[in-house]
Symmetry: C2
Subunit: 231 residues, 2 copies
Amino acid sequence: MFSPVKSTKVYEQVIEQFKTMIADGTLKKGDRLPSERELVSQLGVSRASIREALSALQMIGFVEARHGEGNFIRENFEESLIDPFLLIFMLNGSNKEQILELRRIIEVETAAIAAEKINNEEIEKLEECLNGLLEAQDEVLKGKYDKEFHYNIAKASKNILIVNMLNAVSSLMDAFITEARGKILMVEGNKDVLMNQHSALLKALKNHDPKAASKAMREHLDLIFEYIKDR
Amino acid sequence: MFSPVKSTKVYEQVIEQFKTMIADGTLKKGDRLPSERELVSQLGVSRASIREALSALQMIGFVEARHGEGNFIRENFEESLIDPFLLIFMLNGSNKEQILELRRIIEVETAAIAAEKINNEEIEKLEECLNGLLEAQDEVLKGKYDKEFHYNIAKASKNILIVNMLNAVSSLMDAFITEARGKILMVEGNKDVLMNQHSALLKALKNHDPKAASKAMREHLDLIFEYIKDR
């Protein structure tokens, strides 16, 4: 039997060459790429194909164009899943519950891992976030500290894949979170509940207690779920 | 104070227009895009810029070029996180443990959600996978049924974000999984252990028992973890 011949476009072949060079370590984080002109001559393809390949690699946050300096492999990939995730979300008519469900899945277990691996410096950062959250006067600033608190827990897991994943999920949630905070805070007494939940989480992390950390995270996200879902 | 002016490339502006049309519902799954020539005239930009935008959107699996038919918005996004994930993995020097850690995080909780939402048709599919796994003679075919079994559990969660996420993670793991299966099966008695773990998982799902499903999944992945990690 014959199998269908897949036509590969020129820019796709260029991308494959980049991938190979990354896989074998020839290209590393922060490396400057050859100029477009050099790439044209090294790869023997048109400038248009080079540009198509570069724009595709920029789209997934892998290559960064610095004005007047050329193209570089990024140092930081924390944002590279956001666009793909956003498009999946929009085109599938996914809903808020599905995002929060994914976030809960990741964060509950991540809190347990963080409890095992967190160090003193990371605990201090979380304390700063919590103080900021307590003292901030406006909702925008409070939201910022809240987000930083969760981000730093993910970072304490020391797993960059988890951090990237959560970044994409929480960037999807951003619009809802502010809205949810508003709804939650309208209910008498909830301000203290939220604060206590964050404190319980921090305490569990300080005690390096994975079970208590998961439990605290689950209770916290369950409360948010209650207010975020369509009712 | 002035803030830095961010130069936006033409192709990025084209992508923004696509995003807006997706967000407001003008562009939907499966839609055929206007031809390159039409896009040039509608957007008033060069053909090169249109092609750069299209290659970027293809890279994240959002647009699909069908030979002789033109460009379409994809129907299925199950592969759109694979490339971004692969590059993050390679460039960060992430290791096997980090992938399996992320997989365990997602799958343990997903098994619980699936236990709540699974229907009879989905249970039948899982039974077929398990029979295939039992009867298959070679390791490649066994590996295929194993993967399908896990994929169908994720699908039973009815959350497309979870399915996409797991697809990306397991495509990263593919190389290791076959290797791990080999190592596991070299140990006397492990073949039955693996089979029993899959059966226990299926039983918990059939009983719509979230706790038992998580537990069975955790035990299963813990065993794989044991054999996959660098020793």
